[in-house]
Symmetry: C2
Subunit: 233 residues, 2 copies
């Protein structure tokens, strides 16, 4: 299953907010065996949201959109998603019922726009807040407030499935440039993906769909490099 994540919000594009929602969603989706192929941040703008969501839904099995739900003028994500799928944005009966019963709002208090979802979308209740989410044509629309986003994702996470991959990390105390040859041999010998992340030392992440292959590859590498803490074993 191939997924794209779209995070909506001017506060992300101005650097006011670090995009921890994206990291959290990526980790959860990856744990479920899903390939996250894009994470894109777009402004609070209907046309930008519509364009990116439309492009991504054509190329991915699902699109997860987060941020920009609610009653104020800068909450335009539902309008953008509705435009992307060519549906009207309209008052959603189920959303209204949920908000005026479990949500605890009187019909008079309710900010009307909060109930507006793309026509015939599946409504996702917001256990931690007010604005409901929605699912429409493989597009999952979640709030941007982290606690609300996480709680809502938990209600749909089983709809995201893929081949589970195993991974392990080897911390190496050698310059990255000197590891090039061994990485090449490792990748020839074993069906593993090798990621190399230099910092003070080099963090090498091995990923494979077969756990036994992963273990074998790890042992092969560990016996040929200077490991952090204690050197080569």
């Amino acid at each position: 299953m191939r997924v794209a994540v779209v995070t909506v919000g001017d506060e992300l594009l101005s650097g006011d907010t670090v995009n921890t929602n994206a990291a959290w969603l990526c980790e959860r989706l990856t744990d479920r065996g899903v390939d996250v192929e894009r994470v894109t941040t777009v402004p609070d703008d209907v046309a930008d949201i519509a364009r990116v969501v439309n492009e991504y839904r054509a190329e991915h099995d699902a699109v997860v959109v987060t941020g920009g739900l609610g009653p104020t003028h800068d909450d335009v994500t539902m309008a953008g998603v509705a435009a992307a799928v060519g549906r009207e944005l309209s008052a959603h009966e189920e959303a209204r019922e949920w908000l005026t019963s479990e949500g605890g709002y009187s019909a008079a208090d309710l900010a009307e726009r909060t109930t507006h979802l793309p026509a015939r979308a599946r409504m996702l209740p917001n256990a931690e807040g007010v604005a409901p989410g929605a699912v429409v044509e493989g597009i999952y629309v979640l709030p941007g407030v982290p606690a609300e986003m996480k709680a809502m994702f938990e209600t749909v996470d089983e709809e995201f499935t893929g081949e589970t991959a195993f991974s392990t990390v080897v911390d190496v105390d050698e310059p990255e440039s000197e590891l090039v040859g061994r990485f090449g041999e490792l990748r020839e010998r074993f069906d593993v993906t090798v990621g190399s992340y230099p910092g003070e030392t080099v963090r090498v992440k091995l990923t494979a769909t077969d756990e036994a292959v992963l273990d074998e590859a790890r042992r092969w590498l560990e016996s040929r490099v200077t490991l952090v803490d204690g050197g080569a074993e």
Copy 2:
């Protein structure tokens, strides 16, 4: 000036790493008056990088790319950027000279791929690491290691310019849904952008290009809402 940011790396798409580079770049670019319109994370894959960079350079004044520089097999950003602009990826004489003089490498020790840049690119020395960056056709290619990325950005930041905007924050202790009417009036009365970010309370960010207008708008709002800490003044 309209800019897109492209962050490269499987570690971002798996949620192993929170994208603090993007937040840092967005903040710096916004401070310089630049509009950041997209931030997109792509995998360590030549075709994905080439496609996104090519699309963004067509629509923005500049593209800032970070991550995926270096000698290992998963460092493919320079190849992706070269493909995006239709240039060869080749040994860059200036990069080699820099690495073997100030970089402190002997020609024999040098990982050859580290010197490969898109043909005729401007080389950016890496004051904090090994892999050089590059500028080609409005595309700025920076390392992914945060200290290296930041130091290299400082050498080109004056090439990013725009109309300076002023902003201020008002923390409001009312439900967001009840502020809708006042936000509407605020936006009608003043030439300001209003961002509303609900949490425990509501963080309202006002942005304007005229500082006097911003002050006036802030006073107008503060006198009409319940402020956090001390209530309405």
